[in-house]
C-alpha cells in the first residue's frame, strides 16, 4: 500500500446491517404467508406479492423524485409491503391495496424523511386509511379453504369460534392474522435471532389477557382472535416507531394492550390493535424521553452546575 488507512477506533464491526435485520423479519413472516396461502388460497398469496412489489416500487419512485439514494436494498419497504398485505382481507381489490400502500410508503414514510424518520408505522397508517375509507371492502371476509365470500363476522365479532380453529388459523379474518401458530413461530425466530426483544409483545399480549379477564371476557379468546398477535409481534416491535429502552418498550406494550381492549370492549370498532399501535407510536418519543437509561455511577448534577447553567 502506498498509503495506509488511518481511522478512529473501533477497527472492526459486526456483520449486522439494516438489510440483514429486515431480511430476518421477512423470514419470520414466511410461516404466516405459507399458512395464509394454504388457508385462503392463491388470491391471498397474490395480494401479498402485489403489495410487496408495489411497496418497493413506490419506495424507489419516491427516491428518484426526491433525489435520495436508493433505499430499496435495505428491505424495509418489502417488510412494510408484506406486513400491510397480511392486514388485509383476502379478497380486497388490488386498487384499494394500492391506495393503502401509497399512504404507507409515500405519505407516512417518505414524506417524513424515509426510513428512520417516520413517526408512525407505515403499514398501520396505510391500513387505517383504507379501513376508514373502504369499510365494506375491508370487512368482506372469506371462509377458510373456500372461495366463498361471506359477510359473516370474524371470530372477534362473532365470539363463537372454536379455540383450536383460531390457533391453527381456520377462521375468517385478515390474510396473516388468523394462524396464531405461524405467527408464534415467527416470534420465536425473531427472539432467538435477537432481532427483537420479547418485551413489547409480552407486555402487549399480557395486558390484553389481564384486561379481558378483569372485564369478564375470555382472555385466551381475546388473545387468539383479531389481529393481536400479528400486531404485537410484527408491528409493535418496529424499531423506528417504538421506544428504545426496555422499560420504554414495556410501557409501550402495556399502552397498546389497554387501548386495544378499550376499543374492543367499549368502542364502536370490533378491532383496536392498529389504532392502539398508531396512538402509542405517537407518544413513543415522549416515552423515550421519560425512560432514559441511568448511566452507571452517574452523579446527579450538583446545585452549582445548575446555577452555572
Amino acid at each position: 500500500m502506498d498509503k495506509m488507512i488511518v481511522s478512529p477506533s473501533p477497527h472492526v464491526r459486526s456483520g449486522t446491517t439494516t438489510a440483514k435485520l429486515m431480511g430476518h423479519v421477512l423470514l419470520a413472516l414466511f410461516p404466516a404467508i405459507v399458512a395464509a396461502t394454504i388457508i385462503f388460497g392463491g388470491r391471498a398469496l397474490m395480494l401479498v406479492g402485489f403489495c410487496t412489489a408495489i411497496a418497493v416500487v413506490l419506495e424507489r419512485i419516491c427516491g428518484i423524485i426526491m433525489k435520495r439514494p436508493d433505499t430499496t436494498g435495505d428491505l424495509s419497504a418489502a417488510v412494510t409491503g408484506v406486513i400491510f398485505a397480511l392486514n388485509l382481507p383476502p379478497t380486497l381489490p388490488f386498487w384499494v391495496a394500492f391506495i393503502g400502500l401509497f399512504f404507507a410508503i409515500v405519505v407516512t414514510k417518505q414524506l417524513f424523511g424515509g426510513l428512520g424518520h417516520n413517526f408512525a408505522n407505515p403499514a398501520i397508517v396505510g391500513r387505517i386509511v383504507i379501513t376508514l375509507s373502504f369499510p365494506a371492502a375491508m370487512t368482506t371476509w372469506t371462509e377458510p379453504f373456500t372461495a366463498d365470500v361471506t359477510t359473516l363476522a370474524t371470530p372477534l365479532a362473532s365470539k363463537s369460534a372454536n379455540m383450536l380453529d383460531m390457533f391453527l388459523g381456520m377462521t375468517s379474518g385478515c390474510i396473516g392474522e388468523t394462524c396464531s401458530v405461524a405467527l408464534i413461530f415467527g416470534f420465536v425466530y425473531l427472539c432467538v435471532m435477537k432481532i427483537i426483544t420479547p418485551t413489547t409483545p409480552i407486555a402487549f399480549v399480557g395486558t390484553v389477557a389481564l384486561f379481558s379477564f378483569i372485564a369478564g371476557e375470555d382472555p385466551l379468546y381475546q388473545v387468539l382472535s383479531g389481529g393481536l398477535l400479528l400486531g404485537a409481534i410484527f408491528m409493535a416491535t418496529d424499531y423506528v416507531t417504538t421506544p428504545v429502552t426496555q422499560l420504554g418498550k414495556f410501557i409501550f406494550g402495556i399502552g397498546c394492550g389497554i387501548i386495544t381492549c378499550v376499543i374492543r370492549f367499549y368502542g364502536s370498532y370490533p378491532e383496536g390493535v392498529s389504532f392502539s399501535i398508531l396512538l402509542m407510536n405517537i407518544v413513543s418519543p415522549y416515552i423515550d424521553m421519560l425512560c432514559k437509561t441511568r448511566p452507571v455511577g452517574a452523579k446527579k448534577p450538583s446545585k452549582k452546575v445548575k446555577e452555572a447553567n
Binding site: 464491526r13 459486526s14 455511577g297
Partner: protein, 428 residues
C-alpha cells in the same frame, strides 16, 4: 446486575506462542512522552554513552515517570517527534553497541514501607501496562490511613481480540505476578486480591489457580468472555460488585486495579532494579505471516517488528498499536514502541476497509443495549449534531470511555464512538 457486554471474535491465535526476544535493533528511538502526564526533560546529550537501565529522561512533575535507556550505545541525535495527540515531544535516537551493558545504577531498591515502595515504583518508570498508561505510582500513592484499600483487582481480562501479551505473562511468569500482588498487598495493607481472567484463557486460569491454591487472600476470578470486560470500572465491578462512580478513582471505593503485567513487572523490579525498558508485544493480524509474541526493547521501530513477523510493508493497509477495538492507527513504519504498547496488529486491505455504507439510524437500540456504561449513543449522536452541550452533559457523555461497542454493533454503520470523542470537545 451482571455486566453483559458484547461478543467479539477472539482471534487469540498467539495464545500458545512462547514470547521470544527480537534481534537487537541497530537504533532505538525513545520518546520523552510515552503516556499521560508531564513529558520528561532530557538527561543526556548527543554523543553520550548510555547503558541499559540508565535514566535518560526525568521530570519533577508528580504525574510523570522517568524514562530509561533500553539499550547500551551512543546517543546519535535528539529530534522532535509528533505524537498521536498532536503534541510534539523530544525523542532520543540511540545507536546500539550490541553489548547490552547494564548500568551500574541498576540495583534492587531499598523498600521498607509504603512511601519507599511508591518511590521505587516511580523510579522504575512503571506505568499501566494494559494500554492506558496511567503512572502506577500515582495509583499506589493513597493515604491508607484515611482511605483504606481492601481489594486489589488484577486485570488480566484482556478482552481485546488478538492480544495475548497479558495471557503470556500469566503463563510464562506466574510467580512474578503472584509475588507482585503480594508485595502490593503487603505495603498497601490490602486484605484481598482478585486475579481476573476471561474464560477464553483456560490455561492461564488453570496455572493461576494451582499457584494460588494455598493463598487464601488471592482469588482467581474467571470472567465471562465479553467486551469490554477489561475496562477498569467493569473489571472492578465484576470482581467486587462495587460501582466506581462518575469522577471517582477506584481507591474511593477501596479498590486498586492493576494490570497483570504491571504486577509482574513490580515484582521483577524489586528483585533486580531493572526499570521498564522492554515490553511484551503480540504481533498479529492477517498481514503478518508469522503471528507471535515478542519481547521488545522500548524504542524499537515498528518496521523491525513487521520484518520479524514476516509481514511485507507493501501489503499492510492498516497498522494498529493496540487492539482492534481501541487501538490507534499508525501511519509510519518508523514509529517507535512505547511502554504502553501491548500489540502491533497489521491488516491487509481485505480486513481494513469498512465495506458497508452508513445508512439512516433505525432506532433499533442496539447501541443502548451494548454500552457498558448504559449511555444512549443514539441520543448522544443527535445532541452532538445539534451541538447541544447541555444535553450532552445530561446524557453523561463524560462517562464514555471510547470502548467502541456502540460503533461495533450499529447496523446502520454510524461512527457512534467517534462522535462521542468529537462531542467531548463541546463540553470541555
Amino acid at each position: 446486575m451482571p455486566f453483559w457486554g458484547i461478543k467479539l471474535d477472539h482471534h487469540k491465535t498467539t495464545a500458545d506462542s512462547q514470547t521470544v526476544p527480537i534481534p537487537l535493533p541497530k537504533t532505538v528511538k525513545i520518546l520523552m512522552s510515552q503516556h499521560m502526564g508531564a513529558p520528561c526533560d532530557l538527561l543526556v546529550n548527543v554523543g553520550d554513552e548510555v547503558k541499559v537501565g540508565q535514566k535518560i529522561g526525568d521530570s519533577a512533575a508528580f504525574m510523570s515517570t522517568p524514562i530509561h535507556s533500553s539499550v547500551s550505545g551512543t546517543v546519535k541525535t535528539v529530534e522532535d517527534y509528533l505524537l498521536a495527540s498532536g503534541k510534539v515531544c523530544k525523542a532520543v535516537v540511540i545507536e546500539t553497541d550490541g553489548n547490552q551493558t547494564v548500568c551500574e545504577t541498576v540495583q534492587p531498591p531499598q523498600v521498607s514501607d509504603l512511601a519507599s515502595f511508591v518511590k521505587a515504583v516511580k523510579e522504575s518508570g512503571c506505568c499501566g501496562l494494559g494500554g492506558a498508561g496511567f503512572p502506577t505510582h500515582i495509583k499506589l500513592n493513597v493515604d491508607i490511613k484515611d482511605k483504606p484499600i481492601d481489594s486489589l483487582v488484577i486485570n488480566a481480562a484482556e478482552c481485546e481480540p488478538y492480544i495475548t501479551s497479558d495471557c503470556r505473562e500469566l503463563i510464562e511468569r506466574p510467580d512474578d505476578v503472584i509475588d507482585g500482588v503480594e508485595k502490593v498487598m503487603k505495603y498497601l495493607e490490602i486484605e484481598n486480591a482478585y486475579i481476573c481472567i476471561e474464560k477464553n484463557k483456560p490455561q492461564a486460569i488453570k496455572i493461576m489457580k494451582q499457584k494460588t491454591a494455598d493463598k487464601k487472600n488471592i482469588t482467581v476470578v474467571s470472567l465471562r468472555s465479553s467486551y469490554p470486560q477489561g475496562a477498569e470500572k467493569v473489571v472492578a465491578y465484576s470482581a467486587t460488585g462495587r460501582i466506581i462512580g462518575e469522577g471517582e478513582l477506584p481507591s474511593a471505593k477501596g479498590i486498586i486495579v492493576l494490570n497483570v503485567s504491571t504486577a509482574g513487572f513490580i515484582s521483577r523490579y524489586l528483585k533486580t532494579g531493572m526499570p521498564l525498558v522492554e515490553k511484551r508485544l503480540t504481533l498479529d493480524g492477517d498481514a503478518f505471516r508469522t503471528p507471535c509474541n515478542v519481547m521488545v526493547p522500548v524504542g524499537t521501530a515498528v518496521s523491525e517488528l513487521v520484518t520479524f513477523a514476516d509481514g511485507a510493508q507493501s501489503g499492510i493497509a492498516k497498522l494498529l498499536a493496540g487492539g482492534p477495538m481501541m487501538g490507534m492507527c499508525l501511519y509510519d513504519f518508523s514509529a517507535p514502541i512505547t511502554k504502553t504498547n501491548n500489540a502491533i496488529l497489521a491488516f491487509t486491505e481485505k480486513l481494513a476497509k469498512n465495506k458497508e455504507p452508513k445508512t439512516a439510524c433505525i432506532h433499533c437500540g442496539r447501541c443502548v443495549a451494548a454500552c457498558p456504561m448504559k449511555l444512549m449513543p443514539t441520543e448522544l449522536e443527535k445532541a452532538y449534531e445539534a451541538k447541544d452541550a447541555d444535553m450532552l452533559r445530561k446524557l453523561k457523555l463524560n462517562l464514555c470511555m471510547n470502548c467502541g461497542s456502540c460503533t461495533y454493533v450499529c447496523p446502520a454503520k454510524h461512527n457512534l464512538a467517534e462522535v462521542n470523542q468529537l462531542a467531548k470537545a463541546l463540553i470541555r
